[in-house]
Amino acid sequence: MSICIENLSKHFGGFAAVDNVSFEIADGELVALLGPSGGGKSTILRIIAGLEDSDGGTVELGGKRVDHLHARARQVGFVFQHYALFKHMTVGENIAFGLRVQGVERSEQRRRVEELLGLVGLKGYDGRFPHQLSGGQRQRVALARALAPQPRVLLLDEPFGAVDAKVREELRRWLRHLHDELHATTLFVTHDQEEAFSVADRVVIINKGKLEQQGTPLQILDEPATEFVARFVGEVNVYDGIVRGGRISVGGLFVPAHHQPDSTHVRVVIRPYDIKLFRVESDGFAVANRVLPIGDRVRVEATLHGGQPIIAQFPRRSSLLRGVEPSCRLGVEITHSRAYAVAAPEPDAGTAVPDQRPPQAAPEMERGEAREGEARGESGSAREESYSEAVS
């Protein structure tokens, strides 16, 4: 059944946990609510379930408003991060709970429990107690319990947050598989972009209570709507740049931007795999610091002549890596980037001040929220001339 939320808001004291959020989930879709911890994702989920009241906005399930309905009447399946299994009940009793409190006949309860145990791959476990199960098994029981009363939608709050990495991987595949089988409308919350992208049809990105972007994983990766999204979904290099004559320059580099805002001052976000670094014998635009083989990829950390660090990533056997070693000169080519409008910098910040931090620290290579004042590329002019037309 479809889910539609409109202009949803929720304040805790003076803090806006959810700030005017609207989105829609079609019947049978599997959607991830992705964002940093404490950004309001869980609150949205809990409001949909009726576990929390909203301050404003509406929630519709299957086209009907449910705001006035108590959580127990919404017929929503909810799976909690820490399972919330009833410790004193067996697996079978846990799964049957929703049917039991609704007065379903015993024989029907038993039939449904058997069916669900089969579905979640735990046949023969109905007599066990939760503490006799592994984390992954507990979460599957929690899911079976949520599915038992045939909910209209399924909501999962950080469902794999409490299990270890390997089991999490397995559970993700399993959830996707289960969804392909049942087609239950499912919304799950996660702060892990890999989880969101590997499981969901569509991803809704929430930050500081606001909706940043929604779209397919590919759209979000390739066309991040905001700087926050660009930074959040994977490693990035971030520089301040200025737009001149229809081109964006960052220090001495000209950057082809896929998306050019209507502003003189921009922030340019470049993914490590959209950068080509290659050895040059003279000049160049950067000096290599470290070359790190990481499994099937190689990471090159270098310093631009402006002083800012740059990080690039290559396939292990890439021919570009030939001769690239610490302290060699590098040519730089940016193949893809996105630029976002920013306010003009303070007058005194306009002069070129190279970043003095050691490049290893690479503070702008972050996956979390955008931080202020990191890795300012210079909008100053002197160096720009000397490096002009560096890259074709």
Partner: protein, 267 residues
């Protein structure tokens, strides 16, 4: 020379406990045995002693039931609900732990006693509170108020709201949620609270003395019986009753330990 700290600490702890716990209880036991078990038992078989025991048992049972029920409800309200003055209430319910029972007795005397606020209306309804059975119940219920509440509240905070929310999303009514989910979750805390309430009720002295008056055969409880017996130099009766109370306390301790054991195993 190296100081053998570990054995030293061990001996200190054991010595402290022995001086404060084992020696007095042992002394009572020895006095009872010296007086002859038979004579002590016959002292305890007298009507006044039997009445005191019965009264203590009844009052303790009432306190356990009332404060058990109130403790659950109050803990749910204080832990699960947000309202103005919650913190103040949370502090106030511990008052009986910190206030001297004698003062409690006096305070209730001002309310229920001669020319007290409620004396006239209650007397008009044919109720006499002070120096009567209700006095014992009121005094005991007051001093044992926090035990169940505290134990249950502690467990409620610890278990969080996840289980209850799960039950609600599965369609359970508030009563079903409480009965099938909350109550089983808090049962250990409840049992510990009830046991502590029982122990405290058996031993209450000051408030029941002031408010109840310790009238032999009427409002004399086990503890006030001991007091009266010592006053009257009836040592056999005093020590016999004291030993009985000590045994009850040990039984309560044993029950508490037994209650706590399975919980440790689960974790």
């Amino acid at each position: 020379m190296r100081i053998p700290w570990r054995p030293l600490l061990f001996v200190t702890v054991i010595g402290y406990l022995a001086a404060l716990v084992l020696v007095p209880v042992g002394a009572i036991l020895i006095r009872v045995l010296a007086a002859g078990l038979g004579s002590v038992l016959s002292e305890l078989g007298r009507p006044a002693a039997l009445h005191a025991m019965k009264l203590t048992a009844i009052v303790a049972t009432i306190a356990v039931v009332l404060n058990g029920l109130f403790g659950i409800v109050a803990a749910l309200v204080i832990v699960r609900q947000r309202f103005w003055g919650r913190r103040l209430l949370d502090t106030l319910v511990d008052l009986p732990l910190t206030v001297s029972p004698v003062m409690t007795g006096l305070a209730f005397l001002l309310v229920f006693g001669r020319s007290g606020w409620l004396e006239a209306p209650l007397a008009a309804a044919g109720w006499k509170v002070t120096f009567a059975f209700p006095a014992l119940v009121i005094a005991t219920v007051f001093v044992t108020l926090p035990f169940t509440l505290r134990e249950v509240a502690g467990v409620l905070v610890e278990i969080g709201t996840g289980d209850e929310e799960a039950a609600v999303t599965l369609g359970a009514s508030p009563w079903q949620t409480f009965w099938h989910v909350t109550l089983p979750n808090i049962k250990h805390g409840l049992a510990c609270g009830v046991t502590l309430t029982m122990a405290r009720s058996l031993g209450e002295f000051g408030a029941v003395l002031i408010l109840g008056g310790a009238i032999s055969g009427k409002t004399q409880t086990a503890t006030t019986f001991i007091y009266a017996a010592t006053e009257e130099r009836q040592e056999g009766a005093a020590f016999g009753m004291a030993l009985l109370l000590a045994l009850m306390s040990m039984l309560v301790l044993g029950v508490l330990e037994w209650l706590k054991a399975p919980r440790r195993k689960e974790e």
